[in-house]
């Protein structure tokens, strides 16, 4: 059985704008899958519909046998523990320390009492420190998140997502707010750490080089539809043209 299965996913926003027009997608083992498309093609909406930060209008999302798209609020909270998310704008809590930000990754399993008192379990703290060490921010853990540079902040984002011990990582334009050099470092680090933890990555990108450089498989998205889904080495010119050529010419 597939790890993640998306069937017939559609999304129309209340504004009337249709972002997804029927997406079918399967993720199996630990691999890096790039969702490639122009801005407005529905990449972010697709990722957000999988963990239901955006509520899908229609379709099915199944993660490891759990029908995520049909869960109630409590069930959804439980299912989200298994999906780590990394954001373009990092989405760290500025006034909390780096370590607290990383530890917030285990809020899904922490008791309410521990959340109120910010008293995390010792082994969680230990694991958070190990992750900080792995992503290279161990010397920053006492700093407030807003004191870090962009690259460092995204490293915190990676550590927070992995803190969840997720079954899959949903990654939304992780390097778009970074300069190319730092972006490449972050991308490399993210893929390496995910591989060590045996976690597949579904990552949305708009940059072709980033997509081909790190992924094993590319899913091409255009106007809310998948226009190709192929091994990265098999992706050819005509496929790419189907994403990039402007609408009138197509």
């Amino acid at each position: 059985m597939a790890l993640l299965e998306v069937v017939g996913l559609k999304k129309t926003y209340p504004t009337g704008e249709t972002a997804l027009r029927g997406i079918d997608l399967t993720v199996n083992g630990a691999e890096v899958i790039a969702v490639l498309g122009l801005s407005g093609s529905g990449k972010s909406t697709l990722l957000r519909c999988i963990n239901r930060l955006v509520e899908p209008s229609e379709g099915l999302v199944v993660l490891d046998g759990v029908r995520v798209s049909e869960l109630d609020r409590r069930g959804l909270q439980r299912a989200r523990r298994h999906m780590g998310m990394i954001f373009q704008e990092y989405n760290l809590v500025d006034r909390l320390t780096v370590l607290e930000n990383v530890l917030s990754g285990c809020l899904g399993v922490a008791s309410t009492w521990r959340a109120v008192t910010r008293a995390f379990r010792k082994d969680d703290i230990e694991r958070a420190m190990e992750l900080c060490s792995r992503v290279g921010i161990l010397d920053q853990i006492r700093k407030r998140a807003d004191q870090l540079s962009g690259g460092q902040r995204q490293r915190v984002g990676i550590a927070r997502a992995l803190m969840q011990q997720p079954k899959i990582l949903l990654v939304d334009e992780p390097t778009s707010s970074l300069d190319p050099k730092i972006g490449a470092e972050v991308m490399e680090l993210m893929c390496a750490v995910a591989d060590e933890h045996n976690v597949p990555i579904l990552v949305s990108v708009h940059d072709l080089d980033v997509a081909t450089g790190y992924s094993k498989r590319i899913v091409g998205l255009r106007e809310g539809r998948i226009v190709f889904d192929a091994e990265t080495r098999e992706v050819d010119r005509s496929m790419l043209q189907s994403i990039y050529t402007d609408q009138d010419a197509a």
Partner: protein, 280 residues
């Protein structure tokens, strides 16, 4: 007006550039404006005469000398000062605890009244908003009178009056701060599968905290002034002493009370500044 006509006649239009269209505002617009100002001024004059001249007991006010003499009665009697210290301290505590109780009540009300985090949709949103409006639209003296009738005289009804009065301002500003937060961290914490309370504590609260603390301190500042008058209706503190001294014509002692209140307000201001720089 005749001057303008003369200018017209003397041929400014003849310069050619202006032609028939006068680039200035038309004359009767300006005239209308003068009439409006004159009308407005006469209304103000009549109203002034009404409230200042006819409604004032001029025989009792006396001349300028008499007025100065009356004002001099209020010169503080410093010997009286030690005997009001306890009441001043009580007033200060009424303001402090009134603010703190109001702060505690305001937090859940703010969560209800913030559109983006309100737990039960429109029902809880309006519950929050109505609470805020009720609190803000009633004067603290009215609240004090209500609590005095319910609980008897003393500082307790005064504190509760200030608390209830403070909820509106604190909850309203906090709800607005919550509505304006960056939604990114909220999404991130929600995406970990955290419960609502954990999302509030980790993603909402850190963003709202500095604004909330600033407003609590501001409210405390205001409440010190409010606490000083609560005693007049039985709400404890310095206000009762002030009313007593005025009624027994002990104006020097009343002046002392005013001086004491000013000192207390300054002290409160100083404490606010210290807390602010320490916390924020």
């Amino acid at each position: 007006m005749s001057g303008i006509e003369a200018a017209d006649a003397s041929g400014i239009n003849g310069a050619g550039l202006i032609g028939d269209a006068n680039p200035l505002r038309p004359r009767n617009t300006i005239l209308k404006r003068y009439c409006l100002i004159a009308g407005f001024a006469s209304v103000v004059l009549v109203l002034t005469a009404h409230v200042f001249v006819f409604q004032t007991d001029w025989a009792r006010t006396g001349g300028l000398g008499q007025m100065l003499k009356t004002a001099a009665w209020f010169l503080p009697n410093l010997g009286y000062f030690p005997s009001i210290l306890l009441a001043l301290f009580e007033t200060f505590l009424i303001a402090l605890f009134g603010t703190l109780i109001g702060m505690v009540i305001a937090i859940p009300v703010a969560v209800l009244a913030a559109r983006n985090v309100t737990p039960a949709g429109l029902a809880s949103y309006w519950a929050g908003r109505v609470t805020i409006v009720l609190s803000r639209s009633v004067h603290e003296l009215i609240f004090a009178l209500i609590f005095v009738s319910a609980l008897g005289l003393g500082p307790l009804p005064g504190m509760l009056a200030l608390a209830v009065r403070s909820v509106g301002f604190l909850a309203k500003t906090t709800a607005e701060a919550i509505e304006n937060i960056d939604i990114g961290p909220v999404e991130a914490i929600e995406a970990t599968g955290a419960r609502r309370i954990a999302v509030l504590l980790f993603a909402v609260m850190p963003q709202v905290f500095p604004i909330f603390v600033g407003n609590v301190i501001f409210q405390f500042d205001i409440n010190i002034r409010r606490a000083a008058i609560l005693g007049m209706v039985g709400g404890g503190g310095i206000g009762l002493i002030f009313a007593e001294q005025i009624m027994s014509l002990a104006y020097d002692r009343a002046g002392t009370v005013v001086l004491g209140v000013v000192a207390m307000v300054l002290l409160g201001e100083y404490i606010s500044i210290r807390i602010r720089s320490w916390l924020l």
